[in-house]
């Protein structure tokens, strides 16, 4: 055992001054609380982010290609390119158009999406009534929209395309309207999404809006982490004809806001550790002032300036390490209790989840511990410098 470790641990655990001992204990408790609070709060943020991400990924594609061209040869070459990609599990052409949906004197703005192939898993799983495979002029609408329109499968609704609305207003002719049969009703647990979207086949929508080619592709991968790679690949092969959005790009603002909120919480909660570090600074400074004579004696025995400084750096770090260990155990325990026993449940009538979501992330915990140890170390710099400036002769002169 190194002599500075030996002395530092003795001073930390067996400090003869009761007051310094109490301040030292308070700083360790403060750090423990700060670390535990950070782990719990950041894990809740991570849990919510994961939940929202999963929810959105269940509905949205992993990648969306928006075509800047109507050249069908290009569409085919993109289609062939996607078929050759081993990590693409499923892709479909689509066309989308804002439209008005009418029934029983009620009308709503919806986003009508027509798909070449509508058999991806998330769509199939979301159908609650009616048929999965749509025929020409058939629609699948969300549960909240169906409720508002008071419609059930086999009922008829009328759609008017927004594509025609602007021209219709100027030239005063009626926009194109068409009857559609409601074939199925879906529910994705994202109320806004269910209210605003309706599906049909690609052929149906193309004939409805008088177009020949799709305006994009939606792609699902075997691993969501590969989306950026495929995006880059697509841009390198088709640099001018497409705009590619990953699952992150589709809701960039939301993900950025969640990340910003998480870091804001991290900084605010780090203040607990910051304040606790001030206690380390106070207790160590008092220790140095009280132990001037002992420090001088250690110097007469041959301990050099570096070792003297290390004694106090290490005392600060012991406080930080102890606080981190206790705080991490406490924080992880609270998270596990929430994960397995749902100690903080949510009202299922108001929320779509039954308990506060938690995601324990090892990297986040390491960042928290690193920040804690860094602050503890910074707090011990001043006392350590003060210690090594001790004047030996002045300090040993008197009892």
């Amino acid at each position: 055992m190194k002599v500075d470790n030996y002395i530092a641990s003795k001073y930390f655990f067996l400090n003869s001054n009761g007051f310094i001992k109490i301040i030292s204990l308070i700083s360790t408790i403060g750090i423990s609380i700060g670390v535990a609070a950070l782990i719990v709060v950041i894990s809740v943020y991570n849990g919510f982010t994961e939940h929202v991400t999963n929810m959105l990924i269940n509905i949205d594609p992993h990648l969306q290609i928006r075509l800047k061209t109507t050249d069908y040869d290009k569409v085919d070459s993109i289609s062939n390119f996607l078929k050759q990609q081993s990590n693409v599990t499923f892709f479909t052409k689509f066309y989308e158009q804002k439209s008005l949906i009418f029934r029983n004197g009620k009308y709503y703005v919806i986003n009508l999406k027509g798909y070449d192939t509508l058999n991806n898993k998330s769509y199939k799983n979301s159908i609650i009534t009616g048929k999965i495979n749509l025929d020409k002029n058939e629609l699948s609408i969300g549960m909240p929209l169906a409720t508002r329109l008071e419609t059930l499968p086999t009922d008829t609704v009328i759609l008017s395309s927004f594509k025609e609305l602007g021209t219709a207003a100027i030239y005063t002719f009626l926009p194109k309207t068409q009857s559609f049969k409601v074939a199925s009703i879906f529910e994705t647990h994202n109320r806004e999404y269910d209210l605003l979207n309706a599906y049909c086949t690609l052929n149906t929508i193309l004939s409805f809006v008088d177009e020949n080619s799709p305006n994009g592709f939606e792609i699902w991968l075997n691993n969501i982490e590969n989306s950026q790679d495929l995006k880059n690949k697509l841009y390198s092969v088709f640099p001018k004809d497409i705009k590619v959005l990953t699952w992150y790009d589709l809701h960039k603002e939301l993900y950025q806001m969640m990340s910003m909120e998480k870091w804001a919480a991290f900084i605010i909660l780090s203040l607990i550790i910051f304040v606790a570090s001030f206690n380390i600074l106070a207790s160590l400074t008092m220790t140095v002032l009280k132990k001037k004579r002992d420090i001088a004696i250690l110097q007469t025995l041959g301990l050099d300036e570096n070792q003297i400084q290390k004694i106090f750096y290490k005392q600060g770090l012991i406080s930080g390490i102890l606080g981190s260990i206790i705080g991490t155990i406490l924080g992880i325990s609270l998270c596990l209790l929430q994960i397995y026993y749902k100690i903080y449940p949510l009202d299922p009538d108001k929320f779509i989840i039954d308990a506060m979501p938690i995601k324990l992330d090892i990297l986040t915990i390491f960042v928290i511990i690193f920040v804690t140890l860094l602050l503890s170390f910074i707090a011990s710099i001043y006392p350590a410098k003060l210690a090594y400036r001790t004047n030996i002769v002045e300090s040993i002169k008197w009892e």
Partner: protein
């Protein structure tokens, strides 16, 4: 010069007090041979302790040189000086200055650990020395649980654990009753003969003076006389 263990040449030291310069040591030159007990004697303020601290490398002189076995100590870096002190010099102070959080055994072992010994060997050596000084029953007692005489014996054990050639002592019996003072005197004599240690002791104590081989009298920062027995 090479025949001496320790020598100082033209040592001067002054302090400034409210703008006034006080010369504590004036051009002092001394030579110290091994295996002897040197007594620094003189009234309070004569400069005994300051000279002791400068010779022991705890303080720096304004001018002059100190030689240890022919090596000039002022040419050493602070780190090498600390190492030198740890291996070659021991200190005993009037107020023992033991570390209160550490037991007697730990206080002594710490000096060996600072000198670079492993914890295990340091504790074994500390145990042996404390046994020699009849403190085997006090190994695990903290300084506050020891008597004044016991505390000073622990301080002596700490000073000699690294087998130094010189031990500096500043009023080592100044805080002890006559009985304990005699015990310390005897220990110093034994260490001189058995361990071949040179002692340089600053004191007022007449009984302690009696064990000295050389009495160096100081007055107003100069050596007034040297008396060899």
């Amino acid at each position: 010069m090479n025949n001496y263990i320790l020598a100082c040449e033209s040592i001067s030291k002054s302090y400034h007090n409210n703008g006034e310069k006080i010369e504590v040591l004036k051009n002092i030159s001394l030579n110290f041979l091994g295996n002897k007990i040197y007594m620094l004697l003189g009234a309070s303020g004569a400069g005994k302790s300051t000279l002791l601290h400068i010779l022991g490398t705890l303080d720096k002189a304004d001018s002059g040189k100190i030689f240890y076995e022919g090596t000039e100590l002022s040419s050493l870096s602070q780190t090498r000086l600390n190492k030198f002190r740890s291996h070659n010099i021991g200190f005993v102070f009037q107020f023992h200055h033991l570390l209160p959080e550490f037991t007697a055994l730990e206080n002594v072992a710490l000096a060996a650990m600072i000198a670079g010994e492993s914890k295990k060997i340091s504790f074994e050596k500390a145990k042996d020395i404390l046994n020699q000084l009849n403190l085997s029953h006090r190994l695990n007692n903290k300084p506050a649980e020891l008597s004044g005489g016991e505390q000073q014996r622990v301080a002596i054990a700490r000073a000699i654990i690294n087998n130094p050639k010189i031990v500096f002592a500043d009023e080592p019996t100044g805080n002890l009753d006559s009985k304990n003072g005699e015990i310390i005197n005897q220990i110093i004599l034994d260490l001189k003969t058995q361990n071949n240690i040179m002692f340089i002791i600053a004191t007022h104590n007449k009984e302690l003076c009696s064990i000295g081989d050389v009495n160096i009298y100081m007055k107003d920062g100069v050596i007034s006389s040297i008396e060899e027995k």
